[in-house]
């Protein structure tokens, strides 16, 4: 509130000063044009001095009669009244002008103040909005970062869990056990073939035996192809090893490994079978 009052007074005083200066200029112009008797230029004299002829020998006083005195009095009074009227009129005009200009100045100041205040308020509002937008953006960015971290963490946990599941499943049912189980009809043919594919996977990924890779390629070309569990294992291996790494960061060995994994995910059928 205090700032508002100070702001208004600032604008008002500035405009009022301008108004006074303009008024003074107007008065000065009027004085030059009409002979306003604020600053006498000698046209009107309130006291008429009798004209005395210079004499070198003697001085003869000229006595004023009653009519002359009355005339002189009327002349002085009329001149005084006229001068007073002019002064009064000028004062009225001046005050009117000053008041008018003051009112105008007040209006202008008010308008300017209002405009400035509105502009200020708009600027403040814009600043607040910008700050709010910035805060919202930062908040959203933070949330995205958090979500991203959570996603990666969850994905890693999912991958680890799935990898453990795959390993446990692989260990639980060895290929020889699967052969016996299938022979007794305890597991399906798909489950048995899956165990064979697990064996190839284990050889290639865990034991680094090339034969495992070739067996997987051979399984891939069969009618049944690579079974879903193996395909998931391939995808998990891709995620585990290569997530967040660009090809530029990979060694040639890693690139070859990745290319092999990706090629196993292709659906291939040997038409000759």
């Amino acid at each position: 509130m205090k700032n508002k009052i100070l702001g208004f007074l600032k604008y008002f005083s500035s405009t009022l000063l301008n108004a006074i200066l303009i008024s003074l200029l107007v008065i000065f112009i009027l004085w030059m044009l009409q002979g306003v008797p604020l600053f006498s230029r000698g046209q009107v004299s309130l006291v008429q001095t009798p004209v005395v002829a210079p004499s070198t020998t003697s001085v003869t006083p000229v006595p004023l009669n009653y009519n002359d005195a009355l005339h002189t009095y009327e002349l002085v009074a009329t001149t005084a009244i006229q001068s007073s009227e002019r002064t009064l009129n000028l004062m009225v005009a001046m005050f009117t002008a000053i008041i008018g200009l003051a009112a105008l100045a007040a209006g202008a100041a008010s308008f300017l103040y209002k405009t400035a205040r509105e502009a200020d308020e708009r600027a403040k509002s814009a600043e607040i909005s910008a700050q709010a937008a910035k805060n919202a953006a930062e908040n959203a960015n933070q949330q995205l970062t958090t979500l991203s971290k959570n996603y990666i963490e969850l994905n890693n946990r999912y991958t680890d869990t799935l990898q453990n599941y795959i390993e446990i499943r692989n260990k639980t049912l060895s290929l020889d056990a699967a052969i016996q189980a299938r022979e007794k009809g305890e597991i399906s043919q798909d489950r048995y073939i899956e165990a064979q594919q697990w064996n190839s996977w284990h050889k290639w990924v865990d034991l680094s035996q090339e034969t495992g890779w070739h067996e997987l390629k051979a399984h891939q070309s069969q009618e049944i192809g690579l079974l879903p569990a193996i395909r998931v294992a391939i995808e998990m291996e891709l995620a585990r090893v290569f997530r967040g790494k660009s090809d530029a960061d990979l060694s040639q060995q890693d690139k070859d490994y990745k290319q092999r994994l990706v090629s196993l995910l292709e659906i291939k059928f040997n038409k000759n079978i």
Binding site: N199, Q209, T211, A218, Q222
Partner: protein, 146 residues
Amino acid sequence: MTKRILWIDDDYYAIQGLFRPIEKAGYNIDVATSAFDGYIKAQNWKNYDLIVVDLIIPISEEDTVPDVVKNWEKEEKYDCVGIGLASWLLLELYVTCPVIILSVISDPILKYKLENLGLAGSIRKSGLLPTDLKNEIFKILKSKHV
């Protein structure tokens, strides 16, 4: 006299259950888990009534592998050492006992080519059950009068 089978397969210890019915039928299984190991044991091929070759087998973990075995790795089309081994058995060692392929690979063109070289037969390993393997092998041995 007990019959003997040379089984060249790096997966033997993982899938020996496949041969259990055959063993129960009185056959002895002699195992080679690499091409080089098979190369050595196959020198005495006359001791065997049947040689079973897996197409996808490693050369060897040993350093002293002869060039003839190393060259089996250079099979361009299939990249399978077993093809070179089977070809060597049939075309260079001239084994007279039946040689069969037991592999995941089941390419009929490859099968046809190997049969033209003298291969006794091929059995697809994928989804193969012990009784099926026994029946297939007995059928091949019977056809070869073994």
